[in-house]
Symmetry: C2
Subunit: 325 residues, 2 copies
DNA sequence: TTGAAAGCGGTACCAA
DNA sequence: TTGGTACCGCTTTCAA
């Protein structure tokens, strides 16, 4: 028996109607017990699997979930993807990953491809910047925004990190330890998350009774390179004795600038990272960081996958915590 | 206009045959210029995308590639997945990720799901252990094995790391620095890669004129936990002054055992990791490691994706290098 | 309990 | 240059 195994090929093989085979393999009641057993046995022998394309064509939906991340090397995104993959597998969902590199064009391309696949849902970290308003809408894919919120995006739900207190506490902690020049490197205000984090930093300064010095604040489209460059500038300017980061890639970039100059974070220079890869504990005396609730985020996202697009737009957020080292 | 946009709905909308629409949107020559322009314009307005399921049903193949990895948190796998995702996107291939957790059952499940999707190819790191021989074969998906080779697997190709020299050199380097109790933690012999790495370690000992002490060698199914436990045993036994690792997860596990005991790798204890996450450079004085050619592996794998299953089974390997710190 | 027909969205093939 | 038909694999609906 060659070629792909279908219910029809099995039916031909057994000399019966393909409908009987279909019913037997879909656990429909109206099949004689003996017939069903024979069919199930033969199907197993032949290694039959249902053709997902045929199911999709009938309008029964795919079990495909898209995941759009800036990259998957960053510890935070990797861990998120890992949990997502595990939970999706448990529900026999397919996880299709696309990397956006924080680029609107790549993001748009990925969404289009997912629409071709008829993905049932897309989980995405929206890229910074304003997308072309004339783009076709993505219905009927339900879209869940992660970590960042894009205004007027038509997303069904948003799952955010509430990092306000953790970032404010980071500033307060550095101030408590005598730092007066506390720099901030974060995302620009394209997305609300960027603005919120900057506000948390400012509130920290205010509560510590420190003035805000614009020279100590760097904001732009977040990336590893941006974090590194900003940290280099802050170090060169010499006004800062500590840095608080507001972005996972920024954090690694800024850290690399410090390490490159031979500065030991926590000893030569105060540093609070954003996102807490396990190895932060092992660098120098351990690197302080804002820890993100990855597991909570992922589980909430998967829980939302089942929801119908008809539901009201929902926003959930989970608290980040400051890890002091 | 509601519902999903199809060539038929567009045809109805324009009062023409769906065949003309199909031709216009597939760049067939036999369409009048004016007609084509009108169709293309309308399709763009409506946000038409081709239905991938319909294409698949016709037997034209999907553009889906499966990727099976033990996990995606480990730096090596994450970087591999990242490069794969980038290259796949450039060729408008869909990358479907499944995590196996090095478990044969999960691996088998993932393969079955991918067969339902009619994935054109699967790239997989085979799990340790012997799979049930009675399992249905996976044709017509072409399978590419990564990093590990499973004997008699029916894979179309295998892309390996040639780490022999790097591991041997690691042992020689430690011996040069006066170490006589050099432990090894690696995978057991289920897969050839495990055996090869152990052999490289042995050859290093031989060339260094050191005897092999079975108490210094730990091999088992590779995992973070196995690496950590093995390292703890080696440390407790007190015969080893250095450890060489033969596996990416083992390496992180063993390292965590050292750090947990407050030992500084490279100062209190010699340590050679396997796989070289960028932060290895930042821990203690920097951690020595066998660096894997991630980029080469990924590009080779993607190059092989295009090959027809008819091709002879091909094996390519890329050299790892020892990074001394 | 079983079977036959129709349709999902495309394209190859033929007819006009 | 256009249009009609049939088919891919599966299930819903109706008929036997």
């Amino acid at each position: 028996m060659s070629g792909r195994i279908t219910i029809k090929s099995i039916a031909r093989d057994l000399g019966i109607s393909h409908m009987t085979v279909s019913r037997a393999l879909s656990n429909h009641p109206n099949v004689q017990k003996s017939t069903r057993e024979m069919i199930v046995k033969r199907a197993r022998e032949l290694g039959y699997v249902k053709n997902a394309a045929a199911t999709a064509m009938r309008g029964d939906g795919t079990r495909i979930v898209g995941l759009l991340l800036p990259n998957i090397v960053n510890d935070f995104y990797a861990r998120f993807a890992n949990v997502m993959a595990e939970v999706c597998a448990a529900q026999s969902l397919h996880l299709v990953i696309h990397l956006t590199n924080d680029d609107l064009g790549l993001e748009q391309q990925a969404l289009e491809r997912l629409r071709e696949l008829q993905a049932m849902a897309v989980v995405m970290v929206p890229s910074p910047g304003a997308p072309d308003a004339s783009l076709p809408d993505m219905t009927p894919m339900s879209i869940i925004e992660l970590v960042r919120r894009r205004e007027g995006s038509g997303a069904q739900a948003t799952v955010l990190v509430d990092d306000h207190d953790a970032l404010r506490d980071a500033v307060l902690h550095l101030a408590d330890h005598g730092h007066r020049g506390i720099g901030y490197i974060g995302a620009s205000g394209d997305l609300s998350s960027g603005r919120n984090r900057l506000n948390a930093y400012r509130e920290g300064l205010r509560q510590a009774g420190l003035p805000e010095d614009p020279a100590l604040v760097h904001t732009d489209a977040p990336s590893f390179g941006m974090g590194r460059k900003s940290a280099e500038h802050l170090l060169a300017a010499g006004k800062a004795t500590g840095i608080v980061c507001g972005g996972v890639e920024i954090s690694n970039g800024a850290l690399s600038a410090l390490m490159h100059q031979g500065l030991k974070p926590g000893r030569d220079f105060a540093f609070v990272g954003y996102g807490d890869p396990h190895w932060y504990a092992w660098v120098a005396q351990g690197i302080m960081a804002v820890r993100l609730p990855v597991e909570d985020l992922a589980r909430e996202v998967v829980a939302l996958l089942g929801n119908e697009p008809a539901q009201a737009k929902e926003t959930r957020s989970f608290k980040a915590t400051l890890v002091i080292r």
